[in-house]
Symmetry: D2
Subunit: 165 residues, 4 copies
């Protein structure tokens, strides 16, 4: 009996190579992540501009896809299938500065990089631009906690992946 491989990958990622954005590695080995987002109806409000909480959602997408391209994801974390305890990243603190408005149909770029890695926490800098113009900037601190709410140390492989030396 022959075991056939499925004609399409389980998660469809191969069909849409850019769906999780791109990982950029600079000469010094530093990593950052780029994710494009399209502005849809759902992201705007009656001022005709982008609603401010939409940027918060987009930054979360950027962080999730950064983690994904580094080899992990949320389901794996919460299932403990990375070999560790069941855990999830939660936001502890975030600061957003808004510089210019964005509008329906535009393509924005969410760029994420790690500023600092603590024992259980990550501080990320996120910048949202349109054609190189700064739209919004965020500093976000996330903490890895177990399902019972206790902070736990981020695994070495994730730390290494994020580029901590």
């Amino acid at each position: 009996m022959t075991k056939t491989t499925p004609s399409a990958p389980v998660d469809g990622a191969a069909d849409w190579p850019d769906l999780a954005g791109r990982l950029i590695v600079d000469d010094a080995g530093g990593k950052r992540h780029q994710l494009p987002v399209r502005v849809y109806f759902e992201d705007t409000d009656f001022s005709t501009l982008v609603y401010h909480a939409s940027y918060v959602r987009w930054c979360e997408r950027g962080r999730s896809d950064f983690l994904r391209l580094l080899g992990s994801d949320h389901r794996r974390l919460i299932d403990g299938s990375d070999g560790g305890e069941r855990s999830a990243f939660v936001v502890r603190r975030m600061t957003f500065d808004f510089y210019r408005p964005a509008r329906i149909d535009e393509i924005l770029l969410v760029e994420t990089s790690v500023k600092e890695i603590g024992g259980a926490s990550l501080t990320l800098t996120q910048q949202i631009t349109r054609d190189g113009q700064r739209i919004c900037e965020a500093d976000v601190i996330v903490v890895l906690i177990t399902v019972s709410g206790k902070p736990i140390r981020i695994a070495e492989e994730i730390r290494r992946a994020f580029g901590a030396s």
Copy 2:
């Protein structure tokens, strides 16, 4: 040592008596539920009108608060603390008709009633109005499923509460 009871109820419901809307019982014992919703920035889009998916969220609030005023809620269902198996209502089918647009700052009324009670399912009719004018109407079928995904029979007390005779 005296154990004092807290001066305020745990969930703050007493301070805001209308927060879960109101249950209306007609002469024949039929029940319906009314929930007011305010249109905020988050509910509108760049057309300056209410975004169509906002009505879907509001109808879900109406169903949740209807259930709440009948004596149950989602956490109790999923914890199995109603004495039954851990379960949750999921939407199986929904139809929305949009008649008039709504706008920022307006107060809309979500009225929910039960059209039919099946073994594991409820069919609800929901109407959203503004000063008596019909804005949107929905028919929604929800099914009670266990955490493993199997439909289970809705408990007698919930059936009775919804007014099934």
Copy 3:
């Protein structure tokens, strides 16, 4: 001819007196605003806790209803019907600290007060609590801009209403 007053107010506010929360005035004339929010399905995520961007939406509701109880609202501002130029408040900067998670079905209280009034800007402090326990705190700077994007001075009556002496 008799001018009759309508039996119901246009916006339904009389039927639901608490819908826009409550204005609290302290002995020194300082004002703050309280708005209860119920946690619905839409506000939670797969971690089973409240999604962090939901707090951003709730704080915006608090600011909008604070403004409303002080006598203005967004549509009036953007229509210029307060007698001024067409304008809207936009968020310039926001910082959120998250202290404890919140969960489905809970009632949270959003408390908003003005920290500072500039020429075109307001700095607000917002605290979200559950039974007096601190869940989240935010500092938000909003700026009043004209539809063309220029900051304009906040009208005296709004300044006075917010309690600037």
Copy 4:
């Protein structure tokens, strides 16, 4: 005087060729549109599954990008820059059937095709699948209205683009 072309496209579309999904033309000239969506935190709820209103947002993305790849978009419509009156598509009726749950981190495919073209309206069929498995199906009727609310005839070029013969 030399007219220079910009070094980068205004909307960044060239850098992310798949961002608006793909247009598929069958042998008979019929067109359908495919858009992949990733399930993020924002799309799920405390049941740990995708929140039902998220499918409504995703279908809107599919319709918007279908229109975009056919040569128009929302801003052009509302600005009247397609040469016509200022107008926008609004949803008149939608029916959603939910077959299977979807979960965080999954990639879903939103497939959109036109079922019927009326004078001012479009009836679209939308199917959301995961690896070929049916997750959700929707029938959506949208109507093109002017900013004053009057339905207007969909322009010939858009009708032709959608494949009306």
